[in-house]
């Protein structure tokens, strides 16, 4: 009994240690200036970028391919010329004012999971890489639904990963055609993790079905509706430069109508689909993000909306997307604009590793990406390479843990300054080890979860394991032992019905 009680105290201390900057309520994480942060823009630069953004929206405009949406925007006061929609300054200001400054994303069980708009740092797995890094063969290959299940299950187990980004793209087949593949992906995620899901699907119609599936799960877990405790946040991607295509508009409006928050992420490629300058690409990305915000607020004032960006540079040798210091600066600039508007933000596109390989490059890119986003005063989601490599995800979990601890900053009060303790122990002869003050506080020090600290001799005795070895060990352990909480049977049934119905429609469509 006695021993148990002591163990419980220890466990609590360990939990507290791992949570650090987190996150029991908005109040707990409020007060952004208490956390470390950096800026890449000063006030003057920020104001000029806003002015450029407003100019783009008011005088250049955005191409919207859905006529109904063009009409809606026209009715709200936009100047419309064919499919080009121009947003007046006052409407932009209104939208920024009416969008929620903060809202809560829940987990599948209906527990609060993310206080978006607070300074806390949240992380998620990377979005839709095209290929999966096979753990057995070590080569990249097409995604399968089993990979989806595995990524969701591993992400579910990693304590510092807060949400699941759509982990990949399963190629449609004769057995699972395009019309049902996103449904199956969604089911694979929902049933293998309780964590919130940022879902990226092909069309509004498919999203509506996925939200129906999520609705069934939310209700089975006791919510009155999905919108009461949303655990799904659809991802939208406008096309740079300045296009809102049918599927983007549909997904936005369906989500807004159903009271589900959306996360909107442009991906301008500097020098390819946006100016080859950081400021120009930040302004363009910002305009694309804010256009979706305006559309959401025109549809329904108060609709929750998250800004994210995947701004990157084009590799001018090949035309491919590339990652580097410019990408970090552009993402930082865009997120700073979001902070300025007090629109919840997330940071896209931290890097998982070259071709899914867990190597020195993956480590430094991961840290650079995650640190940049964390230092933007939190609330910056960080993509990890779960999509391309589960090993990179496991390493990232530890990286995130380190950063979350760091983002707790330096609490300063009488207790932490400890001048009385310093006085008591005095000059020269003091030993802090045995002091109760040390006992009370040392557990808050960060401890690694994957790559243990050891002496050189200890490391040799353990077999000279590399980071890679430790990561693989932890991954194997999770794969063998982690069992996600199941979805209630009733919801599983409803999800199957929705998938079957989509299959039936697809078959009927193919026959017609």
């Amino acid at each position: 009994m006695m021993i148990q009680a002591i163990d419980q105290v220890r466990t609590n201390a360990e939990v507290a240690m791992n949570e650090n900057a987190a996150n029991d309520s908005f109040e707990d994480v409020a007060g952004g200036d208490d956390h470390p942060y950096f800026r890449v823009l000063n006030d003057e630069k920020r104001d000029r970028i806003h002015a450029a953004t407003a100019e783009i929206l008011e005088h250049i405009g955005v191409k919207v391919t859905r006529p109904e949406a063009v009409e809606m925007m026209s009715g709200a006061g936009c100047r419309v010329d064919g499919d080009i929609v121009r947003v007046p300054d006052w409407l932009l200001d209104d939208a920024i004012a009416s969008a929620p400054k903060q809202f809560t994303l829940f987990d599948r069980e209906g527990e609060p999971a993310q206080y978006l708009g607070s300074p806390a740092v949240y992380t998620h797995t990377g979005y839709t890489p095209l290929e999966f890094f096979d753990l057995e063969t070590g080569v990249r290959r097409d995604y399968t639904l089993d990979d989806f299940r595995l990524v969701a299950r591993v992400a579910d187990a990693l304590p510092n990963v807060d949400a699941i980004g759509q982990p990949g793209v399963v190629r449609p087949s004769a057995e699972n055609p395009l019309e049902v593949i996103n449904h199956l992906e969604f089911e694979a995620m929902v049933t293998n993790s309780s964590k919130p899901i940022h879902t990226l699907v092909a069309s509004g119609a498919i999203l509506a079905d996925c939200l129906d599936m999520a609705e069934a799960v939310a209700k089975a877990n006791g919510a009155s509706s999905l919108s009461e405790k949303p655990f799904v946040m659809p991802m939208l991607n406008p096309i740079s430069p300045l296009v809102y295509a049918d599927d983007t508009v549909d997904k936005l409006l369906i989500s807004v109508d159903r009271g589900i928050p959306v996360i909107c992420g442009p991906m301008p490629l500097a020098g390819g689909t946006s100016p080859a300058t950081l400021a120009g690409t930040i302004a363009l990305s910002n305009a694309e993000s804010l256009f979706g915000l305006v559309m959401s607020q025109v549809r329904r004032k108060g609709a929750p909306y998250v800004m994210i960006t995947f701004a990157a540079t084009m590799d001018m040798r090949t035309g491919d997307v590339t990652s580097g210091p410019e990408g970090m600066l552009m993402v930082a600039g865009c997120l700073e604009m979001g902070h300025h508007y007090r629109i919840p933000i997330a940071g896209g596109g931290a890097y998982g590793g070259r071709h899914g390989i867990l190597d020195g490059d993956a480590g430094r890119q991961q840290m650079l990406g995650a640190l940049t986003r964390s230092l933007l005063r939190g609330n910056a989601g960080v993509s990890i390479g779960a999509g391309s490599s589960l090993e990179a995800a496991v390493l990232a979990d530890e990286t995130f843990g380190m950063l979350k601890a760091m983002m707790a900053g330096v609490p300063v009060d009488d207790e932490t300054l400890a001048v009385d303790v310093i006085r008591e122990l005095g000059a020269g002869s003091g030993n802090y080890l045995a002091h109760p003050h040390t006992f009370r506080h040392f557990r808050a020090f960060w401890e690694p979860s994957t790559v243990p600290r050891s002496s050189y001799e200890g490391w040799v005795a353990q077999g000279r394991k590399t980071t890679d070895d430790y990561v693989k060990e932890r991954l194997r352990d999770i794969m063998q032992n982690h069992r996600p909480k199941p979805v209630p049977d009733s919801a599983v049934g409803t999800m199957q019905d929705i998938i079957q119905e989509a299959r039936r429609r697809a078959a009927a469509g193919a026959a017609a």
Partner: protein
């Protein structure tokens, strides 16, 4: 006295004419256009201007691109400068002298609005001496077939960024077969989700990973090696 090497150098620099904004300190100095006009006025044969001025320039650009001393934005400017020069010489040359290497139709698959990939390939091909017809984005199977019938290209190039739109390429290839046009035209495909295997599966003649490879592929398909 006209200096043909200056023409080559201005092709490499990408300076189409004296107003070229690429190098602010050189604005006002003659570019490809002025240098060729000067050479023509001095009665230098057009064929000589082409083979000793323009072509050495663009060949050097090709080499520099291959060993990564020049990047895509620079190559595109050089291509534009080359085209400016070639247009001036065209009326003075025999029909064969400036014949295009081949004719290519490009467009994105039905439903796909992502423009940059196929535009980049199109621009590079133009620079390399192909005639390019750009059908734009969201091109339906019917539009591709109609364009093949009307333009009679050597190659159709299609791109898709999404796994949801890439199957439009297969539909287009099938439609070309149905319309009995498939044998008269090569089909190449590209875009982020496209693989060599997918290209084979849908019956395309070729696949390229990026714009540089696409250019090499198309040259191979029309049987030119320069």
């Amino acid at each position: 006295m006209a200096n043909l090497e200056d023409i080559s150098n201005n092709v490499i620099l990408g300076r189409s004419d004296k107003d070229s904004p690429l190098y602010p300190e050189q604005i006002g100095e003659p570019g490809v256009k002025e240098l060729i006009e000067e050479a023509i006025a001095e009665q230098v044969p057009a064929q000589e201007i082409l083979t000793e001025g323009l072509i050495p320039g663009i060949e050097e650009v090709g080499e520099r691109m291959a060993d990564q001393r020049m990047f895509i934005p620079e190559v595109l400017q050089s291509s534009a400068a080359f085209k400016t020069g070639a247009a001036l010489l065209k009326p003075l040359l025999s029909a064969d002298g400036v014949k295009a290497k081949g004719k290519v139709i490009v467009g994105t698959a039905k439903g796909d609005m992502h423009d940059i990939g196929k535009s980049l390939v199109g621009m590079m091909l133009e620079g390399a001496g192909f005639e390019v017809v750009d059908l734009g984005v969201d091109v339906s199977t019917e539009q591709f077939v109609a364009a093949v019938e009307e333009e009679k290209p050597d190659i159709v190039g299609m791109s898709a960024l999404l796994t949801t739109t890439m199957f439009g390429m297969r539909d287009t290839i099938k439609a070309l077969e149905t319309a009995d046009m498939r044998r008269s035209v090569k089909v190449v495909v590209g875009g982020a989700p496209i693989t060599e295997e997918f290209a084979r599966e849908i019956g395309a003649d070729g696949y390229a990973e990026n714009a540089g490879e696409a250019m090499d592929l198309m040259k191979r398909l029309v049987g030119v090696n320069y």
